[in-house]
């Protein structure tokens, strides 16, 4: 017997994501899902961002990695409430994992929740975690050809960071090529050129977060 149907295979993840979003809405917390390749600078960006906004927008971090608590230790060292999720081989975070991590945080004391996704330019793009906004990061050392190679990371992003911009000259990075490739995928997201080394662009990033916070 053959039946035809229309059943969303990811409906369980999407239902869990909606539940996360409602829970965060109720607590007036903005959830920011940060996606990039490994080594783009997600953790160092948060090491700068969380203390810079601490007085006005207290933040916690949920950090996903295959193994180790190294990122959580770095973030705890700057005083951020941090929950590490080890996916043990999983190449992205799921909404159910984030739900469990939310249980460990006192949401009422927060205005911002950063979800540092597993470093990967393909898989995290396919899974809603219940975030309100999604950040796509590309760092200069990864090469100026990467936006076009990974369109599904950049097309749905709400903001795009071209990070480690201090290295642009040293690495002969064709910044115009990166901007041109982004313009083919996503003209809705603002694009900031950032560096935690020189603090370039960080004020724009912080202001963008301020405008998004409920």
């Amino acid at each position: 017997m053959k039946i035809n149907l229309v059943k969303n295979v990811l409906e369980a993840n999407e239902a869990a994501a909606e539940q996360n979003r409602r829970r965060l809405d109720d607590a007036c917390v903005l959830a920011v899902n940060i996606t990039s390749a490994p080594g783009s600078g997600k953790t160092s960006l948060l090491e700068a961002t969380v203390p810079a906004l601490a007085d006005e927008l207290p933040a916690a971090v949920i950090v996903g990695d295959l193994q180790t608590t190294r990122d959580a230790e770095r973030l705890a060292a700057i005083g951020a409430a941090t929950t590490q999720i080890n996916t043990e081989g999983g190449c992205h975070l799921s909404a159910a994992q984030v739900a469990k991590a939310l249980d460990t945080l006192d949401l009422t004391s927060l205005r911002l929740l950063f979800i540092e996704n597993v470093g990967n330019m393909v898989c995290p793009a396919a899974f809603d975690l219940g975030e309100h906004v999604r950040v796509a990061m590309l760092s200069v050392p990864e090469g100026d050809d990467k936006v076009a190679k990974y369109p599904t990371l950049f097309q749905p992003a709400d903001v795009i960071l071209i990070h480690k911009i201090d290295l642009v000259d040293a690495l002969d990075c064709d910044l115009a090529r990166i901007h041109a490739d982004i313009a083919k995928l996503n003209t809705r997201a603002p694009v900031f050129e950032t560096s935690t080394k020189t603090a370039a662009g960080l004020d724009q990033w912080y202001n963008w977060l301020r405008t998004k916070c409920p």
Binding site: M1, L5, V6, V9, A12, A125, F127, K184, N186, R188
Partner: protein, 122 residues
């Protein structure tokens, strides 16, 4: 690499559907995968074989169909079919779209073997 995260809920859905239809096992199924989800059909077939082992869907034949993109420009409302590497609207030259197709992974057909062939509804 996220194909296992798709195969596991897919097998759970097949188990629920088989129970609902009083079916002994699943013989075949079709999944329509939107191109935005970057599913590699061969990888999904392998992941499905692993996830379905020792369930009523073990050995079922999985067909993966690709669903192309369709989008609506948020600036001018035009509907068009972007390619994966360019979402620029021809009319307003902006890449600001709402994706209306090609963004989902959908189970579209299942073929069951009935638990008791005598009881098959006419």
């Amino acid at each position: 690499m996220h194909e296992m995260s798709i195969a596991i809920p897919l097998v759970e859905q097949l188990q629920a559907l088989a129970a609902e239809h009083n079916a002994a096992r699943v013989e075949a199924l079709t999944v329509a995968a939107g191109v935005m989800r970057q599913v590699v059909p061969e990888a999904l077939v392998v992941a499905f074989e692993v996830a379905a082992a020792e369930t009523c869907a073990a050995g079922a034949s999985l067909t993966v169909e690709s669903v192309p993109l369709a989008a609506r420009c948020r600036q001018c409302g035009r509907q068009f079919e972007p390619s994966i590497d360019s979402f620029v609207c021809d009319r307003c030259n902006q890449a600001d779209v709402e994706i209306i197709d090609g963004n989902d992974i959908v189970l579209t057909s299942v073929t069951f073997q009935q638990a008791d062939d005598e009881d098959q509804p006419g």
